[in-house]
């Protein structure tokens, strides 16, 4: 039954992803389409209110617009968090957030990470949940979608890389808002609250008083997944029965967070006018994903050997930190998807995963291109595709070309910067944290697992994922500042480098395809692409994985 329920979800996802990919390619087309008639009216109003003129941009203008708009958004978010105690929409009387935690939170939601060093129930007013969290949950995936569209326009040699503001607005009007409305209502039907009433008080059957936190939950949970955001309304995120009350909501949330990352390779296929190209990219990501999913499921269903020895039967698998309604299958699938799509929402506690089960989310975030977050994941895999073309081209003595454009020194330098930045901002801070009192003070589990906790926090920040080994005591100045910086570098270094690559490729004259061209739309290239990703990832991260999860596994198996 476990195999069937996992397969059904993945097949439904594939059936949804292909038409969505076609839709995305059309929705962001530089040409006029019929969609303009449906959405153009609303969009024109937004352009008018904002004073935006629509004109093609150069990559530098595009990148500048990304940065300036993002700085504006983070400033608004920071101010609202600092002032939430005085603002309306605060029925439970939450106080202002302190400066460092506000910095971490604003940056976290700006970078699509959604790492949470606060707990939603007690740390945010309803107004902040809406005007900081929900707001950024729309704008940051919209930024990601805009960037990937610009990047793909560059790779496929279109008229220009487009206009950032148009892409940003279209991501809202044509993709995220309509989907969010539908998903919100489906969630409420299953029991996710959507109310402005304050915390409820109940008298339990045993006669005790029980406080029950609630709020406008559904409208946040829907965009949390659709936008691969991941920050929960409540502290325990989608493990909370109010965020994820039934197996059906679990499936809906999995599909929501995987839909856009899974459909973008198909959108790329439509844009290159070579569907096969899209399938090769999708295939490479899917194969890596299935291996990770298999390890996660196998490890969790085997249970915790330490508890078996303590006398608790592990016949149903490792249930510490998991919910009965999901069991092992829906938990393992959720874990594999949330770290593949770098959403970071969790329906079980990753800190309590078995050692090899915990290695899966770590590994997916380290590779950072097994689907990846809205937009940026596709940018990352395409970046690896260019690297693969370059390496393979040099090995067989062919000029490296990707989609009819020569890959030269300038592109490779930019790609090398982006690829090297990721391990650097994970491993260097991890080493500093493990060597210092400030870093080790937060560790809550003894032994090798403590290393995993620190490693996970920085990996999650760098991959803009946002899940955590939540035992870590992370609301301290050290963690708020260090992860804040890692999240910023993790997001913007690759975005700017890849926009530069897109601009550079767009400026080149296309070279005709000849016998000597290395084809990028066949099985051979799929293997080369996976090998490139895995070798780069393994060389960088295996040593530290051996110190954390692997060592822990050896101690309890």
């Amino acid at each position: 039954m476990d195999f069937i329920q996992i397969s059904v979800v993945l097949v439904v996802l594939l059936l949804l992803a292909i038409p969505t990919g076609r839709y995305l390619a059309r929705a962001f087309s530089l040409e006029n389409t019929r969609l303009d008639r449906a959405f153009g009216g609303v969009e024109k109003v937004i352009y008018k209110w904002s004073g935006i003129r629509i004109a093609d941009m150069t990559w530098k203008q595009y990148a500048t617009a990304v940065l300036v708009s993002n700085i504006t958004m983070v400033a608004i978010a920071y101010l609202l968090l600092r002032l939430q105690g005085m603002l309306p929409g605060n029925p439970s009387g939450v106080a202002a957030m302190d400066p460092l935690l506000s910095f971490n939170t604003a940056v976290s939601f700006l970078t699509n990470t959604n790492l949470q060093h606060y707990s939603g129930e007690s740390g945010l007013s309803y107004l902040s949940q809406m005007m900081v969290i929900i707001y950024l949950m729309f704008t940051t995936p919209a930024t990601g979608i805009a960037v990937v569209m610009a990047f793909m326009r560059g790779l496929t040699g279109q008229r220009s890389i487009g206009n950032y503001y148009v892409d940003l607005v279209r991501a809202h009007t044509r993709v995220l808002l309509p989907l969010a409305v539908v998903v919100t209502l489906l969630l409420v039907a299953q029991g996710v609250p959507q109310t402005m009433e304050p915390t409820a008080t109940a008298t339990t059957l045993s006669g005790a008083e029980q406080q029950i936190a609630r709020g406008p939950v559904a409208s946040l949970v829907s965009i949390k997944h659709l936008g691969t955001n991941g920050g929960g309304f409540f502290g325990v995120n989608s493990a909370h029965p109010f965020e994820n009350p039934t197996p059906l909501t679990n499936v809906l949330e999995i599909l929501s967070m995987f839909l856009i990352p899974a459909s973008l390779p198909f959108a790329f296929g439509f844009m290159t006018k070579s569907r096969k190209q899209g399938w090769i990219i999708f295939g490479a990501m899917s194969l890596m994903f299935l291996v990770f999913l298999g390890i996660a499921y196998g490890s969790e269903i085997n249970g915790n050997p330490a508890l078996e020895r303590a006398g608790l039967s592990q016949a149903v698998g490792s249930m510490e930190g998991k919910e009965v309604r999901f069991g092992i299958a829906q938990s393992a699938l959720f874990t594999a998807v949330t770290t593949a799509a770098t959403t970071g929402t969790v329906n079980n506690m990753h800190d309590t995963l078995t050692p090899l089960g915990g290695l899966v989310p770590l590994g997916e975030m380290m590779l950072n291109c097994v689907f990846g977050g809205d937009g940026v994941g596709t940018v990352n895999i395409l970046m690896y595709a260019i690297l693969a073309v370059f390496i393979a081209g040099l090995m067989v003595g062919r000029t490296p070309e990707f989609l009819g454009r020569k890959i030269e020194g300038k592109e490779m330098k930019l790609i090398a910067i982006a690829i090297l930045a990721h391990p650097l901002i994970i491993l260097a801070p991890t080493a500093i944290a493990l060597a210092s009192e400030m870093g080790t003070a937060g560790i809550s589990n003894p032994g090798f697992h403590g290393i995993s906790q620190v490693l996970y926090e920085f990996t999650s920040s760098a991959a803009n994922n946002g899940s955590g080994f939540e035992g870590l005591g992370d609301n301290t100045p050290f963690w708020n500042i260090s992860t804040g910086l890692v999240m910023l570098f993790g997001r913007y270094v690759s975005i700017i480098a890849m926009l530069a690559v897109a601009g550079s490729l767009l400026a080149k004259t296309p070279v005709p395809e000849t016998m000597g061209t290395l084809r990028t739309d066949n099985g051979v290239f799929l293997v080369i692409l996976i090998a490139t990703v895995v070798i780069v990832g393994a060389l960088t991260f295996l040593p530290v994985l051996a110190l954390g999860p692997v060592a822990e596994w050896l101690t309890i198996r």
């Binding site: 904002s50 004073g51 929900i134 704008t139 109940a202 339990t204 029965p241 330490a306 800190d351 032994g447």
Partner: protein, 186 residues
């Protein structure tokens, strides 16, 4: 440029951060008021006794017990101790709970205790236990209430939910609903 970005940010802020969640609240409250307010359950006098979706702590032998909750099912917050599988504190807690459970439920073999009953849920608020975890408590509950165990077992069966659409998730028993049904037997 900065002014333009500020204007766009504010427009999007109003649409996404205010109009969208408030409109959703309005629609949800009109169309599905019970779910939208947290699926609260009231007794005959209209007093709220809990939420169908949120677990409660039961220690009395005449009630079915739910899963371990380090936060004592206080839904003002949520969470667990986040014990790593290798953490000795986890093993200790489980061993202590096994001993306590066996003492309160004579006749139950240790190997028959399913893992879900003595592990901490992720949320600390899990309202469910597995059907097996309910079955091994039937004798105790029946004895404490002077009921026929078959009658209690039937009530457990009535309150067992299957997999969603026959495929998704796991079969489960809602502990609060089961205990409410028990109280109504009298």
């Amino acid at each position: 440029m900065i002014l333009k970005n500020l204007r766009l940010s504010v427009v999007l802020l109003l649409i996404c951060g205010l109009i969208y969640p408030l409109a959703m609240t309005g629609v949800a409250q009109v169309v599905m008021p019970t779910q939208a307010s947290g699926s609260l359950i009231a007794d005959a006098n209209g007093k709220v006794v809990g939420s169908e979706l949120i677990g409660q702590t039961f220690t009395d032998p005449q009630y079915f017990w739910g899963r371990i909750s380090s936060i004592d099912n206080n839904a003002a917050g949520s969470g667990s101790n986040n014990y790593a599988p290798s953490n000795p504190a986890l093993t200790e807690r489980v061993q202590k709970d096994i001993a306590a459970f066996l003492a309160a439920n004579p006749g139950v073999a240790q190997a028959d205790i399913p893992a879900d009953l003595l592990t901490n849920s992720g949320s600390g608020l899990d309202p469910h236990i597995s059907p097996k975890a309910a079955a091994i408590q039937v004798q105790r509950v029946a004895k404490a209430r002077n009921l026929d165990p078959a009658k209690v077992q039937a009530l457990v069966a009535e309150n067992t939910e299957g997999r969603s659409m026959g495929v998704f998730g796991e079969p489960r028993v809602n502990v609060l609903k089961l205990n409410l049904a028990l109280d109504q037997l009298k």
